[in-house]
Amino acid sequence: MPASAIITAIIVGGILYGGFFFCVRIAMKKGHEDGQQGDGD
């Protein structure tokens, strides 16, 4: 397996899965804050 393929796999995987978990973390943090403040919906 060439190094370029491995580097590609890691960078793209990092962006996609890193982006996904980062956004989920923000949502969970926000949900937690909203829960503490009381949900106005």
Binding site: M1, P2, A5, T8, A9, V12, G13, C23, K30
Partner: protein, 493 residues
């Protein structure tokens, strides 16, 4: 205000949106597009397309539903009046057409799942596929009805009816199974694939970048098309789903999560597909290029061939076809739900009644696809609905919001309710970049269409199943728009 269906929670909504976005295309389209367009280098334009068209359009469709608390036609009506409403109905008409043939593809999956223990496709997978479908010589030779496919079609529509007749609450429960299950199954298939000889050679084909492909316009067009088709854009599904959220819920972060999950799944599916293709090439002693195939050919011919050569083949076969079914079912019922949401609002039908009418209609029209010529008609309709239905709808949505309603106005709403704010870049993308790229794709596809008849089909078939159907759906959209919204009390447009 009349009672509106609601998601049980934000995670339920996200799971449903992700389930809708992740479909059969993630498994059989993305890996092949990557392979055909520079391998690992394709992932660069793919990420650019995701950021500049996929995410902005998902934000737009989510924001429309949430801002106006209505389905796609209702939201567009409020945003841009009757001309914009036509786009919404056209989206639902195209979605309905796609859901009908999608159900037929799922019917094939049911048949293959039923055969998985004995694997009768081992001797000649292509002949078995043609035999199950009873494929004739061309779209003009209707042939007989394939009873196994008819039975699978009935099972599919009954499943869709059962899932969505109770609305968002039941959908929210079903996606808790149908979204993670294919991912888990695919992980198991990938682990099996990676332990087989030749799998790393397959991954080498998938991931090794050929950067010269980036200089080819076709690569960029393919990346934008992949992102667009993969995210269930232009169906009105995302707008309908988000309209079941309270108005003050997040928009931007939900869109990012949905898009990353969809792209992440497609990327991951590539590992599963190419490890198995590498094994198949090695087992048959041929180059990988000889076994690579996308679309239904990958799922129903190439993959079964590879599975039949593996140890524990029946178990892997059951896992694979369950993956196909669970991937397909949430996309299928989301498209149906998007259409039903519009019909319910327009005529104030109950969810159960609208679902029943739609499913019976879908089953009856879908009978076309259980005939011997069904495979050809499915191929033609699929090509036109994707390239000239969904893409044109996406283009028109950008024009309606970016140029007439005002991207800035919608962005102000998005920023008011979202976990994080989006900047002026979104206005720029929705007003100029995304419609520009989609417009380019439409023109490029049309030029190619008139130069070479699609797949060599006879012109009369392309005019009926392609342009004829396309114009017919626009006429239906105009007709429905001309009917006034049924009013209840003081609400409604």
């Amino acid at each position: 205000m009349a009672h509106r269906d609601r998601w049980a929670s934000r995670p339920a909504f996200i799971m449903a949106a992700v389930g809708s976005a992740i479909g059969l295309g993630n498994l059989w389209r993305f890996p092949m597009e990557a392979y055909d367009n520079g391998g690992g280098a394709f992932l660069i334009p793919y990420l650019v397309a995701l950021m500049t068209a996929g995410i902005p359009l998902v934000i737009l469709e989510f924001a429309l539903g949430q801002r106006f608390q209505r389905s796609s036609p209702g939201s567009l009506h409020q945003a841009g009046g009757k001309p914009a409403e036509i786009i919404g109905w056209w989206a639902l008409a195209v979605g309905t057409t796609i859901s009908i043939y999608y159900a037929a593809i799922m019917a094939w999956s049911w048949d293959y799942l039923a055969c998985s223990i004995w694997q009768p496709w081992c001797d000649n997978p292509q002949a078995f596929f043609d035999g199950i479908l009873q494929v004739t010589d061309g779209p003009g030779v209707i042939g007989g009805i394939s009873w196994p496919v008819l039975a699978g079609l009935a099972v599919t529509w009954i499943a869709i009816y059962w899932i969505i007749k109770k609305g968002a609450l039941r959908v929210g429960k079903v996606v808790l199974v149908t979204v993670p299950l294919p991912f888990i199954l695919l992980v198991l298939i990938m682990i099996r694939g990676l332990t087989l000889p030749g799998s790393l050679e397959g991954l080498r084909y998938y991931l090794t970048p050929d950067f010269s492909a980036l200089l080819n316009a076709k690569t960029w067009l393919a990346a934008y098309a992949q992102v667009f088709f993969s995210l269930t854009l232009g169906f009105g599904v995302l707008t309908a789903y988000s309209s079941y959220l309270p108005k003050r819920s997040d928009v931007a972060n939900n869109a990012f999560i949905t898009c990353f999950a969809d792209a992440g799944f497609a990327y991951f599916a590539g590992f599963s597909v190419f490890s198995v293709l590498g094994y198949l090439a090695q087992a048959q002693g041929v180059p990988i290029a000889d076994v690579v195939k996308g679309g239904p050919g990958l799922a129903f011919v190439i993959y079964p061939t590879a599975i039949s050569l593996m140890p524990l083949a029946p178990v892997i076969a059951i896992m694979f076809f369950l993956t196909l079914l669970t991937l397909g079912i949430d996309s299928a019922f989301s498209i149906v739900e998007g259409a039903i949401a519009g019909l319910r609002e327009k005529w104030h039908l109950s969810q159960e009644r609208a679902t029943a009418i739609f499913c019976v209609f879908g089953f009856l029209v879908g009978l076309v696809y259980v005939t011997g010529a069904g495979f050809y008609w499915l191929d033609i309709v699929d090509h036109w609905m994707n390239n000239y239905g969904l893409v044109v709808i996406g283009f028109l949505e950008c024009i309606a919001i970016g140029w007439f309603y005002g991207a800035r106005k919608l962005r102000a709403f998005i920023n008011e309710v979202s976990d994080f704010k989006i900047g002026w870049w979104w206005d720029l993308l929705i007003t100029w970049v995304t419609p520009g790229v989609l417009g380019w794709a439409i023109v490029a596809n049309m030029i190619e269409e008139f130069r070479v008849p699609y797949e060599g089909y006879p012109q009369w078939a392309l005019w009926i199943g392609g342009w004829g159907l396309w114009v017919g759906l626009i006429a239906i959209a105009v007709l429905i728009t001309s009917i006034p919204w049924k009013r209840i009390g003081k609400e409604q447009a």
